[in-house]
């Protein structure tokens, strides 16, 4: 594996890429080569087996042909009313297909210096891999004191021509002082290759800013890896709602650091799993300052032979008094081959705090089903009703009606596909 990615890197540089931050890239490559793909013997990867990735050689040629017609078709199919659109094709900004408010600053990530942002985060083989090879990306800034009413939707369309391709994409959002915005990452693809999307992103919330972050992951056959770092300054608010419906392998690593005091973080996840799909949410919420609050709700509904992994850590650092943290992970198993691994963890080093977590796993409640059926509601409908109710706790947190509708529609589609 080592020699392949070493050669790949040399070729990459020869093609004129990676001229910026060359040292950083070399460090990334070195780490990646040293660590290789993780094995299940590593604690963070115990329940998600990616060892087979080491058997193939994944390459990314930036000259991958882009089929514009297909992209237009994809965009039409996934139109969402009342949103700004920023279109990223294979990790590269496409201005022609984008439209957004003039006060939003958009640049290529290579020209905005964001490298120091990830300095303190824990690197994984996937982020190292990304560091070595990413070539472009999105830098998005909401200037100080600006509130953007309409949601800003960043559409990440990745097109592949083979099973052994990888896209290393990257984005950085900078929320200015007192700014407010709704930002959506929407991942789409029209190809049926089992390639890899390796995405690294960061969100910086400056003082008193508010970011509602929504992620919709709808690649159907590609493996999706995403590492997100969120850093919050004093009195900032971060509300995140994520939907995972596709992907045979979907790994999300999310770290939220409350640097300033009085921060509020909310993280809601809805996973709808089927077939042999595998979804893995690794979250860390770090309370590094006083008066912070956090709410985390991760819900999965699984059928067929799908599997959900949740590893959530809430860390309250020494001195972070008056922290109020809550973490909940709930899973519904609809078939006998579905499987759940949950590790909700609390690490608390301050005493004046209120922290709690809960985790439940089971099938739909028999008594509730019986209650509905005794009132003349058929079994299928009763089940759908209960599942919708279960999912609502996540969906209802979205402020934009059109996005809420999209989530509801995806849930309905998923329920219908069951029959």
């Amino acid at each position: 594996m080592n020699s392949f990615y070493g050669k790949e890197f040399d070729r990459w540089v020869k093609d004129g890429h990676g001229s910026s931050n060359h040292t950083l890239r070399e460090v990334g490559l070195k780490h990646f080569q040293e660590l290789g793909f993780p094995t299940t013997r590593q604690e963070e990867w115990r329940f998600t087996n990616v060892s087979q990735l080491g058997k193939s050689h994944y390459s990314w040629s930036s000259s991958t042909k882009v089929d514009e017609q297909a992209i237009q078709k994809l965009l039409d199919e996934h139109r969402i009313a009342d949103t700004y659109t920023i279109c990223m094709i294979n990790g590269v900004l496409n201005k022609n297909l984008s439209n957004f408010h003039e006060s939003i600053i958009i640049e290529d990530i290579l020209s905005a210096n964001t490298d120091s942002f990830h300095e303190n985060s824990i690197s994984t083989p996937f982020t190292d891999w990304n560091t070595a090879f990413y070539n472009s990306g999105l830098y998005l800034e909401i200037p100080d004191n600006i509130q953007i009413e309409k949601p800003i939707r960043v559409i990440w369309i990745n097109q592949f021509n083979s099973h052994t391709e990888v896209v290393h994409s990257k984005s950085h959002v900078n929320m200015g002082l007192n700014s407010e915005a709704v930002i959506i990452d929407h991942f789409l693809t029209d190809s049926n290759y089992e390639s890899i999307i390796n995405h690294v992103s960061g969100i910086q919330l400056n003082e008193n800013s508010q970011c509602e972050y929504i992620k919709i992951q709808e690649e159907t056959s590609a493996k999706h890896f995403h590492s997100l770092d969120v850093i919050q300054d004093a009195n900032s608010r971060y509300i995140s709602t994520q939907l995972a419906t596709g992907s045979p392998l979907n790994r999300n690593e999310c770290t939220i650091i409350q640097q300033g005091e009085g921060c509020d973080s909310k993280l809601y996840v809805l996973g709808l799993q089927r077939d042999q799909h595998h979804v893995d949410y690794q979250t860390i919420i770090r309370h590094d300052n006083i008066h912070g609050t956090s709410r985390e709700v991760v819900k999965n509904i699984l059928r067929d032979s799908s599997r959900a992994v949740f590893n959530g850590r809430v860390i309250v650092a020494r001195g972070s008094q008056k922290t109020d943290a809550f973490q909940s992970n709930k899973n519904i198993l609809l078939s006998k081959n579905a499987r759940v691994n949950a590790n909700p963890q609390l690490e608390i080093y301050a005493d004046d705090v209120a922290c709690s977590h809960g985790s439940t796993t089971g099938e739909l409640d028999d008594d509730a089903l019986f209650y509905l059926r005794s009132r003349g509601i058929g079994l299928d409908e009763a089940q759908s009703l209960m599942i919708s109710g279960f999912a609502t706790e996540v969906i209802e947190n979205i402020s934009s009606e059109s996005i809420r509708d999209l989530f509801t529609l995806r849930l309905e589609n998923w329920l219908e596909a069951k029959a």
């Binding site: 006998k336 759940v340 608390i348 977590h357 796993t361």
Partner: protein, 481 residues
């Protein structure tokens, strides 16, 4: 504030009550571990060849293993060659009654408050006392044998009931199970053996008292309890050690086997020397405890109150193999000063309609770290398995930590798995409410903590519940956060 500080300081200054050393003639092996030492231990115990082979096999495997590092406890690496693996009071030949036991020893146990002497017969507790590495005496043997119950030191069981020992030893915790279990299998020198025959309800509580006395020794005892069909037994275990500046290792193995309709209740009050207030000395308590509900309708219940040890690192587990079997785990872990605890349980559901309950209460004070780590695994065949886990922590003072690491693995959709955990400090309103009613701050804290632990204490046998409550009061007096 200064008042509070004073009270906390007072509580922290509390001396370890059981820290005396008994001056008694001992026979101790020189420190070090190799095959020769194991052969010597085995020879000392007049063990049959198969047991020596078993030990050697475990030792050879242990040599290939590395010390685990995944826990959240931190300690300097243990030098296994600086420990003496066998220490015994010089033996008088053949003791027939308690009168013949060394009076120094009896005095030690009297100080510990163990009802070892005949005069305390009314306490109705049959005791097997293990002093360093050998079992000193077993009381009530005759009455127990009337019921067909075997309760004796493991070494005696090896001589008198070799078939039973051979069948069950290592059947729940295999010799190569983990690093410390393998070490124990190689060098274990004593322990208790209990066999309850079919349909017998053990008429009294059985109890073992462990004490580490000698310097630089490790204690590696091994307990094996077998409850045959329809039997019922309640077993208690208590531990103390003298105050020493060096850390001492205690790596025990406990195996429980419950057959059809059998019921085993295992209670521990662990009060090993926790080290001084600077975190110097104290016992490393690295223990493997596991029970198996082998057949249908059996039940195993672990109750533990952990207040001692510099480091407590153990996970009493239950394998729920038989249908309708039940596993329970009730735990209170209290850490103060520089103590560290990483403890919890494992519940492995394999049979249908199996049930498990986990109630864990952690209290951390001073500069201590207290972690609950547990696993609930519901295997594919475990239809209608049910688990309920509750892990609550209280923090006293802003220098300590409380952590919760549950691992949940569900592979059967008919399972119902619930886990919840909370962490907080003692509410100011609660203290205020008590103050208002003329209850001092100290008493209020003790009351609230005892209330917090009530769910666990009520699972303990009477005498132990009293002792546990007293222990908590001593360890917590006035430490208000």
């Amino acid at each position: 504030m200064s008042d509070e500080k004073k009270i906390i300081d007072d509580a922290i200054d509390q001396e370890y009550k059981y820290g005396f050393v008994t001056d008694i003639e001992q026979e101790t092996f020189p420190p070090g571990l190799d095959e020769e030492v194991i052969r010597k231990i085995s020879a000392k115990k007049l063990e049959p060849g198969w047991l020596l082979d078993w030990r050697l096999k475990a030792y050879r495997h242990w040599k290939t293993m590395v010390e685990p590092t995944w826990s959240s406890v931190k300690y300097p690496t243990v030098d296994f060659q600086s420990i003496s693996y066998f220490s015994a009071p010089k033996k008088k030949p053949e003791l027939k009654s308690l009168d013949e036991v060394d009076p120094e020893l009896l005095e030690t146990y009297r100080k510990l408050g163990i009802p070892l002497e005949e005069q305390k017969i009314f306490a109705g507790v049959a005791v097997d006392a293990v002093f360093d590495s050998v079992s000193v005496t077993t009381t009530f043997k005759k009455e127990l044998s009337n019921h067909g119950i075997i309760f004796c030191p493991l070494s005696e069981a090896v001589q008198n009931h070799p078939d039973l020992v051979k069948e069950y030893l290592g059947s729940v915790v295999p010799a190569a199970d983990n690093f410390y279990a393998a070490l124990n299998s190689a060098v274990f020198s004593e322990g208790s053996f209990v066999y309850i025959p079919k349909g017998v309800r053990c008429p009294m509580e059985l109890s073992t008292y462990f004490r580490i006395n000698a310097l630089n020794t490790g204690q590696f005892e091994r307990t094996l309890i077998i409850a045959d069909e329809g039997s019922h037994v309640s077993y208690l275990e208590g531990c103390t050690a003298p105050m020493r500046d060096e850390n001492q290792l205690h790596a025990a193995v406990v195996e429980l086997v419950a057959h059809k309709d059998a019921n085993i209740k295992y209670s521990t009050v662990q009060n090993w020397y926790p080290g001084d207030k600077e975190g110097k000395g104290g016992i490393y308590n690295f223990v493997t405890k596991r029970g198996i509900c082998l057949d249908d309708n059996s039940k195993i219940s672990w109750t533990q109150v952990e207040t001692g040890s510099a480091i407590t690192w153990k996970y009493p587990s239950v394998i729920l193999k038989g249908d309708n079997s039940i596993g329970e785990f009730y735990s209170v872990a209290l850490t103060n000063n520089y103590q560290q605890a990483d403890t919890g349980t494992k519940m492995i559901h394999m049979g249908k309609n199996t049930k498990s309950t986990i109630i864990s209460k952690g209290i951390s004070a001073g500069k201590s770290q207290n972690a609950y780590r547990g696993e609930v695994k519901i295997m594919k065949g475990a239809d209608n398995a049910r688990n309920y886990s509750q892990c609550d922590s209280i923090l006293i003072g802003d220098q300590c930590g409380a952590h919760t690491f549950p691992y949940i693995d569900v592979r059967n959709h008919t399972a119902k798995m619930e886990h919840e955990a909370t962490t907080s400090k003692i509410g100011e309103e609660q203290i205020f409410y008590c103050n208002q009613r003329g209850i001092s701050e100290e008493d209020a804290v003790s009351m609230i903590v005892n209330g917090f632990c009530k769910d666990v204490f009520q699972e303990l046998p009477m005498e132990f519940a009293m002792e546990a409550q007293k222990l908590m009061e001593v360890s917590l007096e006035g430490s208000i956060g």
